[in-house]
Amino acid sequence: MVRRIAPVLVLGMLISGLLFAGGAAEADPDAPVEIRLATWAGASEANELQEILDELNDRSETYYITQESSPAEYYTNLQTQVAGGTAADLMWLDQDNLIDFAARGALLDLTEMIEGDDHPAADLDGYFETPLERFTYDGRVYGLPWISMPVMLYVNVDHMREIGVDPEQINDWTWSEFRDAAIELTRDRQGRTPVDSGFDPDDIERYAFSMVPGWPPIQQWIWQAGGEELTEDLSASPIDSDAALTGAEFIYELLHEYHIAPSQSIIGDRGFDQMMRDGQVSMFMGGAADDLERNENYEIRAFVLPAGPTGSRANWAWIGGMAIWRGTDHPEIAYEAFMDLSDAIHHWKVPSPRIDLANAETIIELQPHKVDSAENIITSLEHLRAPNLFPGYSEWATIFGERYVDPIVRGDERPADIASDVRAMLEDVLEDYR
């Protein structure tokens, strides 16, 4: 009996399941289309974003955006979904990854759509040049930036006053003034500075600065000294040029001759930015959106970066933006949602990549704790510079980070001793992608 019933039962379940699924898939043609948005937003950022999405969804009759947040392994998830044909319609991308996705045909070319659009976010002349450039590939627009974040020098103003430095002068600093202040700020438990006799680098109570391999990017110092780590035509990595070496040697000197920064092990245990918040570190380079100014114990402000020997204050731009998946079922509606959401995020994230929104008043309105930093953030936008990117940049960056930056920052290799060898390795990668 059971044997006779079992196949019928299974078949029945199959058919009912299929009918159920099929019935559920039927859609009302007039109903708003679901547009999926992939983000790397963490919990609090996702909640803020959801409020924006709720407003947009209430207003729109053509779409409703659903958020798919995956803070961990975001790009692995994204690549896998694109490969499997199940990617979200809209996706957050940063400058490093946009080129890869665009060059490999995963993104919708927005050039023509944007040209005929009078949406505020579609006015390409209204963007800063650097962030917009990084969302174009081969002369075509594949996305729009929604944040253009310069690196700022966060300073514990109380510590500065303690060593007799007027905070108002920090924006005028050159490398040598930065170094002098760093030496004066670094103290061992006996109160000695790195230039005092008997200074104990193994028993430092307060560090002047904080640095790990990869952050802040060593490229900034190379640029400020007039050097290049990767030429614009992507033909060379002249890290062994005199100018490039000047930048890298400056970092070596600060870290290994003056011991102004804690080791990576200490940073790993006490927290990179946490040491700044706790007053164990006096200066920190972070993105303009970091909230280090929110501190009950110390007055912390963001300043522009010190100028290098050429007078340059070039700083590393981190640019986040959004693009549309090429395989979307609803390109027009996805584009409409993309534009509305881009505009909304431009009014949320600071600093905005749009010239009209990137002003001190907007920053203070959105983030009141940045009242003393806002003008400096705007000034820093003038010095923004993004790396020269190409498909395969991640392979190049791995070698640059592991073979050049790590030995300098974490080890004690002199840049001049290793630069030529590393240059050959880097140019080997460039050769492959040329």
Partner: protein, 328 residues
């Protein structure tokens, strides 16, 4: 439709499909005059078989194919023949250091791990009062997540505040050596991971040895004792031969595990100047640089190394593994 409802429906469909397949397998085999008992057996292992084919065999075959291609996930694979392998062996600046580090780690950690687990198991094999508590305590490390263990070791190895350096630094100073930076100085990275591997002494390895020790017949020890054999001789000539199949198992498991070390490396973030373990290098190439074809080639090379070493141990086992009741 609510996402959870869609998932529930898909689950029901898959369940129904697999159940249907089981019935079909049973019916088909019966039509082929296969015995009822055998047909039922095959029908019952069908879900596992389907899972194995879909989630293990297919990815393995796919990765074998991908190792001969240039594949970045976003575009279809592009056949490049042996180019990935040629590049790995002739131009890859990370490959040989990764092989060196991985093999050295395996050669150092496996003997220490096996011997250590055996020693701990022998201690716990004694029938003392409260031995159950000791056995439980020694097994506890196994239930900790590997990530938590990695973070714990990161703290233990901290150059300034770590537990290990409190004991080690005075000794190092006697020899004029500076405070070791275990994960920052390439000299200490391999020793650090070998020390971490001692964690594996407890837990499953220990329990397997304990079970093996408990299965050694007592009368063998009694006879040896009467014949005047001391503790070392009893261990050398009775314990080791009798548990040699388990030692063999532990060596094979240890080699495979050591060559695949990943989590602890990823979470302790040692300097890459010491080289990278192969599994991490494969992950970095595939999932950070999105060079899946190249990563597949690296994975197959690692597989070949594991296979060769395992076969070598297997071949050598004829000389040192004793199976009770074995006939040659």
């Amino acid at each position: 439709m609510q996402p959870h409802l869609a998932t529930a429906i898909r689950f029901v469909i898959v369940l129904a499909g697999v159940s249907g397949l089981m019935v079909l397998v049973h019916r088909g085999l019966r039509l082929l005059n296969v015995r009822r008992e055998a047909a039922t057996g095959y029908a019952l292992i069908t879900p596992w078989l389907v899972g194995f084919l879909v989630f293990t065999s297919f990815p393995m075959i796919a990765s074998a194919y991908l190792s001969f291609t240039d594949y970045n996930i976003l575009q279809p694979p592009n056949w490049v023949g042996l180019e990935n392998f040629r590049r790995i062996f002739t131009r890859d600046i990370d490959f040989w250091p990764a092989i060196r580090l991985t093999l050295l780690y395996a050669f150092l950690s496996v003997p220490i791990g096996v011997a250590g687990a055996l020693v701990v198991a022998m201690l716990l094999a004694n029938d003392l009062r409260g031995i159950g508590i000791y056995r439980t305590v020694y097994y506890l490390p196994t239930v900790l997540p590997e990530v938590a263990v990695a973070l714990l070791w990161r703290w233990i190895f901290n150059p300034q505040a770590g537990l290990l350096n409190r004991f080690v630094v005075p000794v190092f100073r006697l020899f004029g050596l500076s405070r070791p930076d275990w994960f920052g100085d390439p000299t200490y990275v391999l020793p650090a991971f070998v020390i971490i591997s001692l964690w594996g002494i407890t837990g499953v390895n220990m329990v397997i040895f304990l079970a093996a020790l408990k299965n050694v017949p007592l009368h063998l020890y009694e006879v040896a004792f009467i014949d005047g054999a001391g503790g070392w001789k009893r261990f050398r000539h009775i314990t080791v031969p009798m548990i040699s199949p388990v030692i063999f198992l532990q060596v094979v498991r240890g080699i495979i595990g050591a060559l695949q070390i990943f989590t602890v490396y990823a979470f302790t973030n040692p300097t890459p100047r010491a080289g990278k373990f192969m599994s991490f290098y494969i992950y970095q190439t595939g999932f950070q640089q999105f060079r899946m074809g190249y990563a597949s080639a690296l994975a197959w090379i690692l597989f070949a190394i594991i296979l060769v070493l395992t076969l070598m141990v297997l071949r050598s086992s004829e000389m040192w593994v004793y199976y009770e009741g074995e006939r040659k």
